[in-house]
């Protein structure tokens, strides 16, 4: 690699990293928090077998999992203005990512809730706890520990999926990279560079996952 390419790489590093810090990370963080809230509600509705709402929950998951994320972004960003609903690109991205991820995470949380032994509920009732008290104090904490690794997976996947918002005019890392490529004609070096930045982000998340698992799982760790 010659000095020119190095120069381009060094020069472009902050130009790619800054949209990463100002767009990719906040977009992922906000969307994921919203997605978790949706997931918990949708999972609990199914877990508690609430009539009607349960069918709505299944319908939501069916639609979202059965259609591409990119199509969902296009429907909301390019489609909805046709019926008079205009949403700015970033709120639109947050909305679509939260709804999309909510459906997948709901299944993770439901599986984790169902994995908690039924005896935990019975023991709760026998010491006088109500259904919701047992759920909140005993069952959900155990389920979250089980759900944590697959949810971390989803979070890491979402960091990279945010590159799709380039398609709805948001100049995030990938779009910024493409702009530099258009100017410099160094696609290999620059695509590798943006890939490396994604890798750094995901490495940090992987480390955080380890810490989080330890925290949530003190009751399991102690026995190892």
């Amino acid at each position: 690699m010659n000095a020119r390419v190095w120069g381009i790489l060094v020069d472009s590093f902050p130009k790619i990293l800054i949209p990463g810090l100002t767009l990719t990370i906040p977009l992922t963080a906000i969307s994921f928090v919203l997605a978790l809230m949706i997931a918990l509600v949708v999972a609990l509705i199914q877990f508690a077998k609430i009539k009607v709402l349960k069918d709505i929950a299944r319908f939501y998951i069916w639609i979202i999992r059965g259609t591409p994320l990119l199509v969902q972004l296009y429907v909301v960003f390019f489609g909805l203005p046709g019926v008079g609903i205009m949403i700015d690109p970033i709120p639109c991205a947050i909305l679509v990512f939260a709804i999309n991820e909510g459906a997948y995470s709901a299944e993770i949380v439901r599986a984790a809730l169902e994995a908690v032994p039924k005896g935990q509920f019975e023991a709760g009732y026998c010491v006088g706890l109500s259904y919701f008290q047992t759920l909140r104090r005993i069952v959900i904490p155990q389920a979250l520990r089980t759900a944590f690794p697959p949810l971390s997976n989803s979070l890491i996947a979402m960091v990279k999926d945010t590159s799709l918002v380039a398609n709805i005019t948001v100049a995030e890392m990938l779009m910024s990279t493409q702009r530099i490529i258009a100017r410099t004609y160094e696609p290999l070096a620059l695509y590798l560079e943006v890939g490396l930045i994604y890798l750094i982000f995901c490495t940090v998340l992987t480390k955080l996952q380890r810490i989080g698992e330890k925290r949530l799982g003190t009751y399991i760790e102690e026995t190892k």
């Binding site: 010491v127 008290q133 155990q142 003190t218 026995t223």
Partner: protein
């Protein structure tokens, strides 16, 4: 009389599990519920604490009279306020320490202040010899320790009666002794207990009252000594003889 059941029936789908069960328990009784596996002993015990719903029957608990066909959640909770239940599989709250397992019901359900709950819990743990494991998590305990912690959890709520559902069946034979000796101490201290068990030695030595069941019915309802020395039915005689 602390509790009584009259004409309790229970079926799962088309199979009859409990048929015309009637008996009564006095305060201070230690009742052993005996019989082969699959005769409905556990289901009977679970019906008494509303972990299963009986189809019909009359349940008298202290001063309350309940028609089992129409028990409300509130009525079930009112009975549970005065009972403790010990499970075969312990069912300790896995995300809580031993001490938190014991204080949980006191603090959350009975609204006892934390300091007082802690004190009550430590007393209960000392009765089962588990004070040194107060801060341990259940997954780090042996089976016998788990079951003793579970007994402390039930005891701390000062129940009028303790239900034991095969408390030693999931334990290594070497560990059943520590649990049985705790139960013996409780019985000797006057705790009212209903114990579904396969430990005939315990039933013979500790219980004063035996219910012997076959195929969802109580075949013998007798004084413990009388049951073991002069069983009335052939089934019970065989059952006693077959025991090691």
């Amino acid at each position: 009389m602390l509790l009584s059941v009259e004409h309790l029936h229970k079926s799962f789908g088309s199979s009859l599990i409990l048929s015309d069960i009637s008996f009564s328990v006095d305060s201070g009784d230690c009742v052993a519920i005996l019989g082969q596996s699959g005769t409905g002993k556990t289901t009977l015990l679970r019906c008494l604490n509303f972990l299963e719903r009986a189809d019909s029957g009359i349940y008298r608990f202290r001063d309350t009279l309940l028609d089992l066909e129409h028990v409300t959640r509130r009525q079930a909770d009112a009975v549970r306020m005065h009972t403790g239940f010990v499970f075969q599989e312990f069912n300790l709250f896995l995300n809580k320490t031993v001490l938190q397992n014991v204080t949980e019901g006191l603090i959350v359900a009975r609204r006892v202040p934390k300091d007082e709950a802690r004190k009550t819990a430590m007393e209960a743990l000392s009765r089962v010899g588990m004070t040194d494991k107060a801060d341990a998590f259940p997954l780090s305990l042996s089976g016998g320790q788990k079951q003793r912690a579970a007994i402390a959890r039930a005891l701390a709520l000062s129940p009028d009666v303790l239900f034991f559902d095969e408390p030693t069946s999931a334990l290594d034979p070497a560990l059943t002794g520590e649990v049985l000796s705790v139960m013996r101490t409780l019985a000797e201290g006057g705790m009212t207990m209903l114990v579904v068990t396969h430990e005939l030695g315990f039933a013979r030595d500790v219980s004063n009252h035996v219910l012997y069941m076959e195929q969802g019915r109580i075949l013998e309802d007798a004084d413990s000594h009388a049951f073991f020395t002069h069983p009335v039915t052939e089934g019970a005689a065989k059952f006693i003889d077959a025991a090691p």
